[in-house]
């Protein structure tokens, strides 16, 4: 009984620390793509987002810098986003960026440590674009796309 107690406590602890196996789309919560409120775009497709997050499109169609913010490679949200938008699993995404570096291509999007940081960065950066859990979105940003079931759809 004592052993089970310790085991369950350890599981609880590891779950809270984010050490457990990832589940798709952050535990069932959809991902939303957010832009700064000043951005005139109301909806972005996977085709719009792909070159921005590949840093081949560096300006918004309406003008100004497009500044994508990524989460860390091992973040489940990042992995779901890469799969849905770039069509790359974590291994291929990692290879993609290594190849880009060796070619001398443009730098990868800036990585932020958490969705909270992404939210704040997008809210305060005019050209900012990022992705967070749907439940974390608030009025400081504009939702322009939603990712659920590996598909990108309108907001």
């Amino acid at each position: 009984m004592k052993t089970r107690r310790i085991l369950v406590s350890a599981l609880l602890l590891s779950a809270t620390l984010g050490l457990c196996t990832r589940s798709s789309e952050a535990g069932g919560d959809a991902i939303v793509v957010i832009v700064n409120k000043a951005n005139p775009a109301n909806s972005l497709s996977a085709g719009d987002l792909r070159p921005i997050f590949q840093t081949t499109k560096t300006n918004w169609s309406s003008g100004g810098d497009a500044t994508p913010f990524n989460l860390a490679d091992d973040n489940p949200l990042r992995q779901d986003f890469d799969q849905a938008v770039l069509g790359l699993d974590p291994d291929r995404a990692s290879r993609y960026w290594k190849d880009r570096k060796i070619r001398g291509g443009a730098r990868a999007p800036k990585q932020l440590p958490s969705t909270g940081a992404v939210l704040r960065a997008v809210a305060t950066s005019e050209g900012g674009v990022g992705y967070i859990k749907a439940s974390e979105a608030n009025a400081s940003v504009k939702v322009v796309a939603r990712i659920a079931g590996g598909k990108v759809s309108g907001p």
Binding site: L12, P51, Q54, K57, G87, D91, K98, I102, R103, G116
Partner: protein
């Protein structure tokens, strides 16, 4: 907030909470049915006197039932868990805010780390088999021997001290030119091999040995990249020509062996000058361009001898749907290359009677055109390039032909054509990626006027950073246009390369 500090904070808050749960949990755990019934306490060896009681002795099942929590206990526990969850969410939220506050959202002066260092390395073994009667067996020193090699040791210094300005320098460290033949013996004179040995004057022993090597500047440029459609790059850059020259590094290139149009430098590999490039999007298609204005070829000097600039460029169309990535490109380069020598001569008109006189040893104009296609369909990668080059010498300024094989001759104007096809497919297990690479080239020279290379290779992707690449190549030579007095197939060669490759 530093990561370690964040982690400690999180652990500091969460660990006690988890312990509280563990202490409070026995009731909850008792809900789970035990795999075996709870055993009765063992009977004491000596029965103790028992107080008479009205209630019958509790059965083992009843004992277990006693451990079950009441509905109130459960409700309390749930409430505590909810409170814990809320507290954790708050901590997470505060932590995110703290991290966000520590991370500038959009720094006006810089867009990320000011300096990043990364690169790649490859090491391994090579073996080439060439008929000993072939001239190639003497030109390539490693022929017919198994040689362990240090391949590329390339470091990139990627600087972005201010937004929209970026500088990139790539350097390669090499043991070259240690061991190179400086001069052949016999008819060619006295044999001489490059020896870079010296005593280490900075060492702790008087006679400590060192062998100096070289540092190759692969590229070094600074660019302004504010506008997506119009970016400027100045410095020394890889010629934007086709796929291979841009892919450049062993981790990125599928094949270990280089195609002949790169080896034979049918276009300049790199140039010093100005590059303007950019792209735009039309529906699903990305349309891009690069235009270069440079000193032209750099093989003989970093200086421009004759004010004749090199002009070139590339246009491409790319469509990336996420599952299929297609790129089609066209490239072009033209330039005039001149070599000059300077003689010291008697010049009565000069102040001291001595003057300098330039003379051109050779001068040619070249036009190089290329077409390329690259298609990625899931795990399948297909690459194809074709290059056509025309070289025209200025009358009277042709270089001498090969003194050994064609004494008294001069280099002719020439056409060179190369085409290759490479197909690779990553299998669903063990990171295995076999590939087939074939290249045909027409290039009149002392060996033959045409060649065909066929390679089979295998890349093993251990992870996204490390791969083991192995390739076997058979090169075959033949004459299509000219009659040769000797059998050119004697030059046919086989190569086996294997490299452990790491990107970092």
């Amino acid at each position: 907030m530093p990561r370690t500090k964040t982690f400690k904070l999180r652990l500091g808050l969460v660990a006690p909470l988890a312990l509280i749960i563990a202490v409070r949990a026995p009731d909850a755990f008792a809900q789970a049915p035990a795999a075996t019934p709870t055993p009765a306490p063992p009977a004491a060896a000596t029965p103790a006197p028992v107080e008479p009681t009205a209630a019958p002795p509790a059965a083992p099942a009843a004992e277990a039932a006693k451990e079950l929590p009441s509905a109130t206990d459960l409700a309390t526990l749930r409430a505590e868990l909810d409170e814990t969850k809320k507290a954790l969410e708050e901590v997470k939220s505060q932590q995110s805010d703290a991290e966000a506050a520590a991370t500038p959202a959009e720094d006006s002066s810089s867009s990320g780390d000011a300096l990043k260092i990364y690169g790649f390395m490859d090491m391994g073994v090579s073996r080439t088999w060439i008929n000993k009667s072939s001239v190639l067996s003497q030109i390539f020193q490693g022929a017919n021997n198994t040689t362990f090699v240090v391949g590329n040791v390339n470091f990139y210094f990627d600087a972005q001290p201010i937004k929209h300005f970026r500088g990139l320098a790539e350097v390669r460290f090499t043991n070259q030119p240690l061991g190179e033949i400086v001069n052949y013996g016999g008819l060619a004179g006295t044999f001489q091999r490059k020896d870079s040995f010296s005593y280490d004057s900075g060492g702790t022993a008087l006679n400590a040995p060192i062998w100096s090597g070289g540092v190759i500047l692969e590229r070094a440029w600074i660019e302004w990249n504010e506008l997506q459609a119009l970016k400027f790059r100045v410095g020394n850059f890889f010629t934007p020509f086709g796929i291979w020259n841009e892919d450049h590094g062993t981790p990125t290139l599928i094949s270990l062996a280089l195609p002949q149009f790169i080896i034979q430098r049918q276009m300049p590999i790199r140039q010093t000058g100005l590059m303007v490039y950019g792209n735009a999007f039309a529906g699903d298609w990305e349309l891009g361009y690069a235009a270069t204005l440079s000193n032209g070829r750099q093989e003989i000097s970093n200086y421009n001898f004759n004010n004749a600039i090199g002009l070139g460029g590339r246009v491409y169309a790319r469509r990336d749907t996420g599952s299929i990535n297609t790129t089609l490109g066209l490239s072009y380069f033209t330039g005039t290359t001149r070599d000059k020598e300077t003689d010291v001569v008697i010049d009565p008109s000069a102040a001291n009677g001595i003057g300098f006189k330039d003379k051109t040893t050779y001068q040619y104009t070249e036009h190089v055109a290329g077409a390329d296609a690259s298609v990625d369909i899931g795990p399948t990668r297909i690459r194809a390039e074709g290059v056509l080059r025309r070289v025209t010498y200025k009358p009277g300024e042709r270089p001498a032909g090969n003194a050994l094989f064609s004494p008294g001759s001069f280099a002719p104007d020439l056409w060179q054509e190369t085409v290759y096809l490479l197909v690779a497919h990553q299998l669903p297990w063990a990171g295995l990626e076999p590939y087939l690479f074939s290249e045909f080239m027409e290039n009149p020279n002392i060996v033959s006027d045409a060649s065909l290379g066929v390679s089979l290779g295998l890349n093993v992707h251990f992870n996204s950073s490390v791969q083991w690449k192995t390739q076997a190549t058979r090169s075959m030579f033949f004459n299509m246009l000219y009659h040769s007095p000797y059998d050119v197939t004697v030059n046919n060669a086989s190569q086996l390369y294997s490299r452990l490759v790491m990107a970092f």
